[in-house]
Amino acid sequence: MQRKVLAEYRYDLKPIVRGYNKRTLYVNVGDKQIKEKPVSDMMIDKFVGGKGFDLYLMWHGVKDNTKWNDPENEICISFGPLCGNTSYPGSGKSIVTTISPLTGIPVDCNVGGHFGPYAKFAGFDALELQGKAEEDVIVYIDGDKGIVQILSAPDEAINSHILAEELHQEFAGEKGNLQHVSVVSTGEAANNVLITCLNFSFWDKRRKVARLKQAGRGGTGTVFRDKGIKALVVKYSGLKVDTNDPVDLPTLQKTGLKLHKEIEAGDDDQCRMHQVGTAHLMEIMNDYDLLPIRNFKYGQMPEAEGLHSREFTALFTQGMADGCWYGCSLSCCKAVDNFKPRTGPYKGQPVCVDGPEYETAAGCGSNIAIWNPKDVVEINFYCDTYGVDTISFGTSVAFAMECYENGILNKERTGGLDLSWGNADAALELLHQMARGEGFGVTVGQGVRRMKKLFVEQYGADPKFLQDIGMEAKGLEYSQYMSKESLAQQGGYTLALKGPQHDEAWLIFMDMVNNHIPTFKDKAEALHYFPMFRTWFGLQGCVNCPGTTSNQPIMPRLMNRPKFPNTCKTTWISTKLSPENPWISMN
């Protein structure tokens, strides 16, 4: 394909020093300006990297009255000093921030895939995107040659499972180098609705397919498309064990190997991340009355047996090194291979579906009373390729279904769709409508807060009732845990700056399953330290996955790693916890 080079910037390739390039990349797709910005010692000392760098760049890039669709709104992607290590599980995360179209305030997402590590090794500690392109563009970073380009992109499909595949092929050059490319993209729904995501790819050499990991929350895909960006592409082919220049590689490898061995020895009996990823939570949540069912009305139903993790285990291809970054032995990013959708534009075509993970299985399954795992997989596939956030989709559809049950909606108002509980065909049609930009799907795709307002204004619905059943805070849809009886998780949700997402304070398990924080004091302390170390992961460029396994006995051992070798000055988290507390032992 012949592309027009709309702008080009050449930079010096330099080795990383102790996890830092000490420069960031600024790209304005509107005025086609590309430049690098220095990273000062102050930035490193105070903001560390990852989410810290993102927010630092946004602070200087946007104004206090910037709206999500203003040209000066930014999408920042930063990688953190530990990002890109291959010796320690979970060291490959990017953090995406932008002003969210759902909440109007900054949102951040922690995402896997190869884009973050490769963009970092290409030479930058963060990527800052600003402006609005007049025509669709691709931003390409060639980390082998030291070139950044803004390229025309008039013809490609937008949907991610096709676009990512095409761009891997196009930018890899000779065959065999597909794994050296990574793509960030979204999908057609991001042109039309707000509950959207970004997909970060990595090339799966065994499956020979571009896999997709999601920066899911807050509508990042909508901002991406509003800027006229079709994709970000990075190429880097020099990856070695010491590329990130750790201070003490032998100790890092030794410590990583210790964790690999613990995971290998314990995972089959504990979290089964190798077999089923986070979907292992399904039956645990149902057993403990925590699984959201019918718009968070119930926490347990016999029908949830249909979404038991054994059903997903059977669908996932087993025995693969399923890490979203090299060296992650948790291998939790499972995939359904050769899945043939029964609806939509890709009906009957074999596709590889990443997931479902727990949040997707609960949001697009139990919360809308769909009990067939294959329906959940199909919703998962179309959400990903259309660029829709599965969590917000699940909670928004659940809200619409409860409105339908209560007569606020009817077939006339939904354009003929029967939004009865469990109607998978209708849920899928809502998704297809989001991609086509038509019908009631576009309304649902505005999210719960906007639906509430609309249903009150247009259909005379009782605002108090909608406030009771509409599961959103700050404009963001709740993620998929029943927090009715968990004060700690309610705090975790509603104190999170971006809105009710569980990554800062995922306390549901400690509170409700293991009963580790029974007193008010325990819960209050947990609301302090848990977000602190989760934020630490986001600053450093690490996954929450060792944290994600915290529902099982493996966790105290996994987290008990205060001697985690640092590649940089590290801000250790201090807690007031006693040494007897089995859950935390970080100096």
């Binding site: 065994r206 690999h260 290998e264 090194a321 060296g327 032995s329």
Partner: protein, 127 residues
């Protein structure tokens, strides 16, 4: 499948095999750098070496570990990124890693130790 077969009952724990292997691959005479390792604590001694079971092949995230036409498990140095996941999954603890060496290493049934073993405790066989 070509494999290095051990005969512990013949082993005299002279550790010549370890010297041969580590000198061949690392130019150093260190037991921890040998693909075959002899542990004397038991009688007969434990002769630990890769049996080419291929468990590590599926664990490698970069597909750096492959099986040769002769059934020998090989590591591509150019593809290996030193994650050591292969070391963790090895059921016989025969995939090696050594402090300060970035990449894992293992027996490739080259037969060098067979030639230097004074007790005929080693042999290259087809299984």
């Amino acid at each position: 499948m070509k494999v290095l077969k051990t005969y512990p009952e013949k082993c005299i724990s002279c550790h010549v095999c370890e010297s041969t292997c580590s000198n061949l691959y690392f130019k150093e005479d260190k037991a921890e750098l040998s693909c075959i390792q002899i542990h004397d604590e038991t009688n007969p001694p434990d002769m630990n070496v890769c049996n080419q079971c291929q468990a590590c092949v599926a664990a490698c995230p970069t597909c750096a570990i492959t099986v040769s036409n002769q059934g020998v498990v090989m590591i591509s140095r150019s593809l290996c990124i030193g994650c050591l996941m292969c070391v963790a999954v090895c059921p016989t603890n025969s995939m090696r890693s050594a402090f300060g060496k970035h990449n894992p290493f293992k027996c490739i049934a080259c037969g060098a130790c067979v030639k230097t073993c004074p007790a005929d405790a080693l042999a290259i066989v087809q299984e």
